[in-house]
């Protein structure tokens, strides 16, 4: 966990001096910091770091639309990944001391918008596409050597999306969405009839497959996309359905390294409100509550992880980004709103930029 005081200490005087006085004060007084990719009112793309009070503490310019952000206190760096099929990732120094560095995916690969650091901050893992072969890979980057790409291993599926590090610090869990895309055709989904989504557990030390879980064959068009880990180490996932809109399959479930995978039975009204589309998934700080969002249905749902039932349903227009906050969550929207959810005491804020799909809690 990123500690504010440690962060300030590590950042040093140079950092404070590099900030505007108001921003430095905001950072000093801040308990929480969130990060998100955004689109500004002028149409340009970037990422922002927000303080507890909602002040924009830092901004990073991006060459095109970003997606998710990952951060490592050990590395002292954050990374914003391009939205798929983008080929850039921008490594930034949250303290503002070092200039951002732009990484480019190698020929034949593009990013999928998500990634994660190793616990020691020395390695960065990114979900990528080997698009000629229509296979997902995890690109490995050396954070101690200018983010040189060291190699890759397969995700054992097509269209990998979010990737998390399991609590053991060794196992990566990847949501293979199952959808083939190719940069020649933009974001067109090329294999909807033959999709094969899965959740895979991979040993990050050598890329070996620890386990691969699939839903029933009849749900092959249920693209598993986003995940969060609960207090028991179960991986909660949210799906996007690519079949007929009237089908309304269940969209939220959990998987475990013990080989279980199951979908939750959400009530019909809640399920209908998700519109066959879960945009992000987050776990509360204690891992007891899971939140899922649907920007298409303008719906946020908090789920009791132990009881496996919704405890709160709220609406937020274009709401998608979710991050833990207090005992609940904070949600961000494509219309620039930042609001508390499920017990989080947070005053709603409105910004003049649009939040992208994901909101990261840094500390």
């Amino acid at each position: 966990m990123w500690q504010r005081r440690a962060f300030l200490k590590a950042a040093g005087a140079g950092f404070a001096a590099s900030l505007m006085p108001r921003q430095a004060l905001a950072l000093e007084q801040s308990e929480l910091v969130f990060a998100s990719a955004v689109q500004t009112a002028s149409g340009s793309y970037g990422a922002v770091l927000l303080g507890e009070a909602g002040d924009v503490i830092a901004q990073v310019a991006l060459p095109d639309r970003g997606h998710d952000v990952t951060i490592s206190a050990k590395a002292g760096r954050g990374v914003v990944f391009a939205r798929q099929p983008g080929t850039f990732a921008v490594v930034f120094d949250p303290s503002g001391q070092a200039a951002p560095v732009t990484l480019t995916s190698p020929a034949g690969r593009h990013f999928y918008g998500h990634g994660v650091f190793s616990p020691d901050g020395k390695l960065l893992y990114a979900t990528e596409s080997d698009f000629e072969a229509a296979q997902g890979v995890v690109g490995i980057y050396d954070a101690t050597d200018g983010y040189r790409r060291m190699g890759e291993f397969p995700t054992y599926g097509t269209g990998p999306h979010e990737m998390l590090l399991m609590p053991d610090g060794v196992t990566l869990v990847v949501a293979n969405g199952g959808i083939e895309t190719h940069p020649d055709f933009g974001r067109a989904e090329l294999n909807l009839d033959t999709m094969d989504p899965s959740v895979v557990f991979i040993d990050r030390r050598d890329g070996t497959l620890v386990g691969q879980l699939r839903l029933d064959a009849g749900l092959h068009q249920l693209s598993i996309r986003h995940m969060a880990i609960d207090a028991r180490g179960r991986v909660w996932f949210g799906c996007q359905y690519k079949g007929a809109p009237s089908d309304s399959p269940q969209l939220v479930g959990h998987a475990s390294m013990e080989g279980e995978i199951t979908l939750l039975e959400l009530p019909a009204e809640t399920l209908a409100g998700l519109r066959n589309y879960v945009g992000s998934v987050a776990a509360s700080r204690d891992g007891a509550t899971i939140a899922v969002s649907s920007p298409e249905g303008n719906l946020l749902v908090a789920i009791d992880a132990e009881g496996r039932r919704p405890v709160l349903v709220d609406s937020l227009r274009s709401g998608c980004g979710l991050a833990p906050d207090g005992s609940g969550f904070v949600a961000s929207s494509g219309l620039g709103a930042l609001v508390g959810l499920a017990g989080a005491e947070r005053e709603a804020r409105q910004f003049d930029f649009q939040f992208d799909n994901h909101l990261l809690r840094i500390s």
Binding site: H161, A244, P245, S318, L335
Partner: protein, 355 residues
């Protein structure tokens, strides 16, 4: 005199303000004046193609083949006007892919169609049999090959009997799907009612905002799909030469009919619904700006008169194709971002983007 002019202008402005179009009128205009007529036109063209194929198969001739090919072109253009309507009946029963399986990066459809023709698969010449096969062999892409691909010259004589029967079955399938689209857009308490009268109890559109977002989204995402799937794959880039065989309907020479129909359909939806006029006073210029860009796109399409294989090698026509790609990008930003923002909608950013 000057005061009188000012007064007239003010009165006109207040009338214009008072007559600001309401969401319900926009939605009604979209459904009644644009979508339904275009779906009916596609249905009519498809039934015409089905009958032209029946006539060709009953009496194979060069003339009959030419008639079928011309009717195919009309169907492609009419499809362009409705192919981007990725809501409602188009999204049920795999109709979108069954009408046109595209893009087909691995050429799966071509291989499957060739296999059907070479094996003279009896299942493919019965409607139910065809409908149980891969979506890639059921629709307009397959018919493009049947009518204009390698071996299509056989259609003018008895040797092409099987090929013709397969084409006739595809045409019947397309006509059946077109009929289902009509039924879907005219069904009581169906998508048309839900779009025009959004309410909480609807499973799809619960408010004017959601319905308007769907409308704007159709065009914003339709422009992206057209550029990324139907245009960019075959035009030259800084890194790679043109690949005209990646163009949809290159065999029949109907690529530009598809693109023209698509732009025409999207322009019609914006114009016919008057959605771009339902904006605050400061954004009133947007409607003209959007239509200006649509007309630029149509002018570029009109400049491409050669078959795409030749057009990509002819400097002026290749430039027109490149310009068309730029204009679709500009239009996507104008509709998906500027118009969306002016209407207070969220389209094309967080929502509806498949991430």
């Amino acid at each position: 005199m000057r005061h009188l002019l000012v007064l007239i202008v003010l009165c006109w402005a207040s009338v214009a303000q008072a007559e600001a179009i309401k969401p319900a009128e926009v939605l009604q205009g979209a459904v009644v004046d644009v979508i339904r007529p275009n779906v009916l036109r596609f249905d009519s063209a498809s039934r015409g193609l089905s009958s032209a194929m029946q006539a060709l198969c009953a009496a194979p001739s060069a003339h009959g083949k030419a008639v079928a090919q011309r009717q195919f072109g009309l169907v492609v253009a009419a499809y362009g006007q409705i192919g981007f309507l990725r809501i409602g009946p188009m999204m049920e029963a795999n109709r979108a892919d069954r009408l046109l399986f595209w893009p087909d990066r691995r050429g799966i459809g071509l291989k499957q169609v060739q296999a059907i023709l070479s094996s003279q698969d009896s299942a493919a010449v019965a409607l139910a049999g065809l409908q149980s096969k891969s979506v890639a062999v059921q629709g307009l892409g397959a018919l493009d090959y049947v009518l204009s691909g390698t071996g299509s010259e056989a259609l003018t004589g008895p040797d092409g009997a099987y090929r013709c029967a397969y084409g006739m079955t595809i045409a019947a399938n397309v006509a059946e799907i077109a009929g289902e689209l009509v039924a879907g857009w005219f069904a009581p308490d169906g998508i048309a009612d839900h779009l025009q009268m959004p309410k909480d109890s609807n499973s799809d559109y619960r408010s004017d905002v959601e319905a308007l977002e769907a409308l704007v989204g159709l065009v914003a995402h339709g422009l992206e799909a057209m550029r990324d799937q139907q245009l960019n794959p075959f035009i030259a880039t800084a890194e790679a030469p043109a690949k005209p065989k990646q163009a949809p309907f290159w065999r029949s020479g109907q690529t530009m009919a598809l693109l023209g129909g698509t732009i025409d359909g999207m322009r019609g939806l914006i114009g016919g619904s008057r959605i771009a006029t339902a904006v605050p006073e400061k954004d009133k210029g947007l409607a003209d700006s959007i239509d200006f860009e649509f007309r630029n796109a149509l002018r570029a399409i009109d400049l491409v008169t050669l078959p795409v294989e030749q057009a990509v090698a002819e400097p002026k026509q290749a430039a027109a194709l490149g310009y068309l790609a730029l204009v679709t990008g500009s239009l996507q930003a104008m509709v998906g971002e500027q118009l969306s923002a002016a209407l207070g909608l969220s389209v094309g950013f967080s929502a509806l983007d498949g991430d």
